[in-house]
C-alpha cells in the first residue's frame, strides 16, 4: 500500500493547481470578446439595458474586485448564480454531474473490456493476421472523430435497426444503460484504440525482457509469469494512458453529449460558453478540475501499487 505521507503529499499538490485554475479561468473568460449582457436575448437589449445588466451582474466593477469576490465566494462554497439558467450554479451543476460521471465510467468500462482482451490477443499473436486485423480496425477508430462515429452508430443501430433509442438519457438504471450504450461506445472506441496500441506494444516489449526470460528459465508456470511479471509491468504505462484519456474523455463529453442529447455537464459547458455565462463557466471549470485531479490522483495510487519504485518519489 502507498504510505499515508505519499497520499498527503499528493493531495497537497492539488491546492496550487486549483489556485492556478481559478486565476486562469477568471481571466480567460473575461478576455473573450462579448459579455453576458450582450449575449442575452439574442442581443435585442438596448444600450441602456446592457449597462443595467452589467451593473446587476457586478461586471462594472474593476477586475481585481471581481476576482476577490469570486475567490471569497468560491471558498465559502458559493459558486454564484447562473445567468442563463437563473438558478444557483452549484444546483445546476449537481443536477447534471451524475449523468456525465455515469457516461464516463460506462465508456471507460467498455473501453477496458474491449481493449484489454484484444490487446492481449494481438500481443500473443504479434505480426499474424489476427494482430494486423485488430490493429487495423482500431486504427480506423482512432482516425475518426468521436461525433462522426456517434452519428454513424446512431444512423445504423438506432434509426435503422432500432436496437437503441436515438439520444436521450432514460429514467431507470437499465434505461440509462440502454440509452447511453451508443454514446459510451463511440467514446470507448476512440479510447480503446489508444489503449490497444499501447498495451500491445508494452506487452511485446515486456515479453521479450530479460527478467521474463529469467522467470521462464526459473521454471515458473506460464500463468505466474504472465500475471506476476508480464502484466504488472506492462500495465504501468497503460494505466497512465488510461488516466490521461479519462481527462480527455471529460472534454470529449462536450461533443458527445451534444450529438446524443444527453443532459450532462459537457453540453452545459458548451451552452455556458456561448451564453458567456461567467459564473457557470467558472463553476464548471472548477468541477472539471476537481474531477481530473481525482482521476490523476487515483492513477498515481494505482501506479504506485503496481510499481513500488514510484512510492518513494
Amino acid at each position: 500500500m502507498p504510505s499515508l505521507s505519499y497520499l498527503v503529499a499528493r493531495l497537497l499538490q492539488i491546492i496550487p493547481t486549483f489556485l492556478l485554475v481559478m486565476v486562469f479561468i477568471f481571466l480567460l473568460v473575461r478576455m473573450l470578446p462579448g459579455d453576458p449582457a450582450i449575449a442575452m436575448a439574442e442581443a435585442k437589449a438596448t444600450d441602456a439595458q446592457v449597462v443595467q445588466i452589467r451593473r446587476n451582474l457586478g461586471l462594472d466593477q474593476p477586475l481585481p474586485v471581481q476576482f476577490m469576490v469570486f475567490v471569497k465566494n468560491t471558498l465559502s462554497g458559493d459558486l454564484g448564480r447562473s445567468i442563463m439558467m437563473k438558478a444557483p450554479v452549484s444546483e445546476v451543476i449537481l443536477s447534471r454531474l451524475p449523468t456525465t460521471i455515469f457516461l464516463s465510467l460506462y465508456a471507460v468500462a467498455l473501453a477496458v473490456l474491449l481493449a484489454g482482451p484484444l490487446a492481449f490477443l494481438a500481443a500473443m499473436r504479434a505480426n499474424t493476421t489476427t494482430d494486423v486485423v485488430i490493429r487495423g480496425v482500431f486504427q480506423v477508430g482512432l482516425s475518426m472523430p468521436v461525433f462522426y462515429i456517434g452519428l454513424v452508430l446512431l444512423t445504423v443501430l438506432a434509426a435503422q435497426l432500432r436496437w437503441f433509442p436515438v439520444g436521450g438519457y432514460g429514467t431507470t438504471f437499465l434505461g440509462n444503460l440502454h440509452h447511453l450504450m451508443l454514446p459510451a461506445l463511440s467514446v470507448a472506441l476512440y479510447t480503446s484504440a489508444i489503449i490497444v496500441r499501447n498495451l500491445r506494444a508494452s506487452l511485446i516489449e515486456v515479453l521479450d525482457a530479460d527478467y521474463v526470460q529469467f522467470a521462464r528459465a526459473k521454471g515458473l508456470t506460464p500463468r505466474i509469469v504472465m500475471t506476476r511479471h508480464v502484466l504488472r509491468n506492462a500495465l504501468v504505462s497503460t494505466v497512465t494512458l488510461l488516466g490521461l484519456s479519462i481527462g480527455n474523455l471529460m472534454s470529449g463529453t462536450l461533443v458527445t453529449e451534444t450529438v446524443f442529447a444527453i443532459p450532462g455537464v459537457g453540453r452545459l459547458m458548451l451552452e455556458a460558453i456561448f451564453a458567456r455565462d461567467y459564473p457557470l463557466i467558472q463553476g464548471l471549470t472548477l468541477t472539471f478540475a476537481v474531477m481530473v485531479s481525482v482521476v490523476f490522483l487515483l492513477t498515481d495510487v494505482v501506479q504506485s501499487l503496481l510499481d513500488p519504485r514510484l512510492r518513494k518519489s
Binding site: 436575448a41 437563473k86 436515438v166 451534444t258
Partner: protein, 524 residues
C-alpha cells in the same frame, strides 16, 4: 363530358364531407423534439427563444394574434381605446378560470400587468407608456402617459400573459425574478391551454391539458384537443431528424434548409415551412471612419447601393436556403403589420453596381471585411458567394469568423464593415423591428451608425399616432427612406422549417416563432 360533371362534383363533395367527418379527434399526446431547453417560462423574465416561444401555451393574454395577424379578443372579450388615445379599457369574459379552478379576476390582470411593467425585466419597455392599471370587477383600464398605438399588440404578446396573483405570491424567493423561477419550477397555476406536468432540466418537459381553458374547439368543447405535449431536448440537428425518422417523436423543429428537400420526399412526414417574420440581413457600418481611424468607403451611399445591386439575392436564396427563402422587400418581413414593399429591393444588376461605384470614385478597388459566425455553414456559403459576386467590381472581400457574443460586441462597438445578422419579431407590431433596425437613439440603427433625421422624427411620431391611416403612411415613408439609404445588405426572409409526422394535424409555429399546440390533434 358534360354529363359527368355533376357526377364529378358529387364525388368531390362526397370527398369533402368524408374529410371533414374525419376531422378533429380528441385525446392522445404528441412528442416534440426541440433544439434547446426552457429555463424559465415566465412572461416577465424569459429572455431566450426556447422560453419565449412556449409562454403563450401556459399563459393566456388579454388579446390574441389572429391567423391573419389581426388583433382578436382573448381573455378580454372586447377592448376600446379612448378618443384621446390616453386610455384603453377591456372587458374580461365571464366565468374564466385558472388551471387550479380559481377564478381569473381583474386583480390577477392588474398584478400581471404591473409585473410586466417592471423596468428591470427584459420586456418592461414595451409597456413604458402605461401609467397605471386598474380593475373594477371585470373591467380593466390602462391609463397611458401618452397615446400608444402599440398597446393592443402588446396585450397580445407573451410578456402580458396572465398569472395567478394568489399562487405566484406564494412562491419562494426574495424578489420577483427568484419568485418567477420558483413558480415555474413547481408546476405553476396557468391560464393558457396547458399546464406544466413535469420537467427534467436540460432533457425533457411535459405539458398536460388545462381543463379550464376558455377557448372552444370545432366540436364545441373546450380546447386543447390533445391531453398533453411531451418535449425532448435534442440540440444536434442530425440527431433530431434521426429521432423523427425512427418514429420516436412526432415533430422536429429547426430543420436545416439543406435537408428540407430530402424530408419533403419522406412519405411518413409533412415538411412544414411556416411563414415567419425572420429576416437574414447584413448591417453595414455607415460611419465616416472605421474603428481603427481609417476612412470608411461604406459611408458613401452609392457604395452601399452598389453592393446591394451586386448581390444576387435569388442565387443566395438558392444556395443557402435551398429555395425556401424570399428576397427582402422592406426592412421588415412581408408578414409584419404595416409592411410596405411592392417588389424585392435592389434586384441583381452588376452593370448598375459598376456605374454607382464609378460615380462614388470607388472603382479602383475596395478592401472590405465580412464578419461571419464561426461554424455556421450558411454564413460560410454566404461569404463565398458574395466574394465571387463582388470580385468583378474590384471588391476584395475578406472573411473574419467570430462567435455569437463576439459578433454582438463588434456590432455594438461599431467594429465591423459588414456582418451577418438575423432577426424575428417578438411583437405583432412593426415598431419593434423598425426601432431595432432604423432608430438611431435605440441601438444606433442596429449598430450601423445610420442617423437619418427624417426617419427618426417619423418613428417618434408613429409611436404615439392614434390615427391608423396616418400611422400606416408614416410606416410607408420610413420603409421607403430605409430602402433607399441602404444601411443594410438586404438579403432574404426565411420560413420556420418544421418536420411533422403524418398522423399529427394543426400544429403551428406562428410568424413570431411561438409554438401553438392548442388546436393540434392526432388521427388515431
Amino acid at each position: 363530358m358534360k354529363r359527368f360533371l355533376p357526377l364529378l362534383l358529387g364525388a368531390a363533395l362526397g370527398f369533402g364531407a368524408a374529410t371533414s367527418a374525419l376531422a378533429i379527434e380528441r385525446g392522445g399526446s404528441m412528442t416534440f423534439a426541440r433544439y434547446d431547453d426552457s429555463t424559465v417560462i415566465d412572461p416577465v423574465w424569459a429572455d431566450r427563444n426556447p422560453d419565449l416561444w412556449m409562454i403563450t401555451s401556459l399563459y393566456e393574454t388579454l388579446l390574441r394574434n389572429g391567423a391573419d395577424g389581426a388583433i382578436e379578443p382573448g381573455l378580454a372579450e372586447s377592448y376600446a381605446v379612448a378618443g384621446d388615445g390616453k386610455s384603453i379599457s377591456l372587458k374580461l369574459r365571464d366565468g374564466l378560470k385558472f388551471s387550479d379552478g380559481s377564478a381569473i379576476t381583474g386583480d390577477d390582470v392588474v398584478f400581471s400587468l404591473d409585473r410586466a411593467r417592471n423596468p428591470d425585466g427584459p420586456w418592461g419597455g414595451l409597456l413604458g407608456s402605461v401609467e397605471k392599471v386598474t380593475a373594477e370587477g371585470g373591467k380593466v383600464t390602462l391609463s397611458l402617459k401618452q397615446p400608444d398605438p402599440t398597446i393592443p399588440s402588446i396585450l397580445a404578446t407573451f410578456n402580458t400573459g396572465i398569472v395567478s396573483k394568489a399562487a405566484f405570491e406564494k412562491a419562494s424567493g426574495s424578489n420577483d425574478q427568484e419568485k418567477a423561477k420558483a413558480y415555474f419550477d413547481n408546476n405553476p397555476v396557468t391560464s393558457g391551454p396547458f399546464t406544466m406536468k413535469s420537467r427534467v432540466a436540460g432533457s425533457s418537459m411535459s405539458f398536460a391539458r388545462n381543463p379550464n381553458y376558455w377557448r372552444a374547439g370545432e366540436d364545441g368543447k373546450s380546447l386543447p384537443y390533445l391531453d398533453g405535449v411531451d418535449f425532448v431536448v435534442i440540440p444536434d440537428d442530425a440527431t433530431r431528424i434521426l429521432k423523427l425518422q425512427a418514429g420516436e417523436v412526432d415533430v422536429a423543429e429547426f430543420i436545416p434548409f439543406a435537408r428540407v428537400g430530402e424530408l419533403s420526399g419522406d412519405a411518413s412526414l409533412k415538411m412544414e415551412l411556416f411563414p415567419s417574420t425572420r429576416i437574414i440581413y447584413a448591417p453595414i457600418n455607415t460611419r465616416d471612419t472605421r474603428k481603427d481611424g481609417s476612412k470608411n468607403p461604406l459611408a458613401d451611399l452609392k457604395v452601399r447601393q452598389a453592393l446591394n445591386y451586386a448581390t444576387d439575392k435569388n442565387m443566395l436564396i438558392k444556395l443557402v436556403t435551398f429555395d425556401t427563402g424570399k428576397p427582402m422587400t422592406s426592412l421588415m418581413s412581408a408578414a409584419t403589420q404595416l409592411h410596405y414593399g411592392p417588389e424585392p429591393l435592389y434586384p441583381y444588376n452588376p452593370e448598375k453596381a459598376k456605374q454607382l461605384l464609378a460615380e462614388a470614385g470607388a472603382d479602383g478597388g475596395l478592401d472590405i471585411t465580412f464578419t461571419t459566425l464561426a461554424g455556421s455553414a450558411d454564413d460560410a456559403t454566404l461569404f463565398t458567394a458574395l466574394q465571387q459576386m463582388w470580385a468583378p467590381l474590384g471588391v476584395n472581400l475578406k472573411v473574419e469568423q467570430v462567435d455569437n457574443p463576439t459578433r454582438g460586441a463588434k456590432n455594438r462597438n461599431g467594429e465591423f464593415d459588414i456582418h451577418t445578422y438575423g432577426w424575428a419579431n417578438d411583437v405583432n407590431d412593426p415598431a419593434q423591428v423598425t426601432g431595432w433596425l432604423g432608430y438611431y437613439k435605440q441601438r444606433q440603427a442596429v449598430g450601423t451608425g445610420w442617423n437619418n433625421q427624417e426617419f427618426n422624427t417619423l418613428f417618434e411620431a408613429s409611436n404615439s399616432e392614434v390615427d391608423p391611416a396616418k400611422r400606416k403612411d408614416e410606416y410607408k415613408r420610413m420603409q421607403e427612406i430605409y430602402a433607399a439609404e441602404a444601411p443594410l445588405l438586404f438579403l432574404y426572409e426565411t420560413p420556420f422549417a418544421v418536420a411533422v409526422s403524418k398522423s399529427l394535424e394543426n400544429y403551428v409555429q406562428t410568424p413570431l416563432g411561438a409554438n401553438d399546440f392548442s388546436e393540434a390533434w392526432r388521427a388515431k
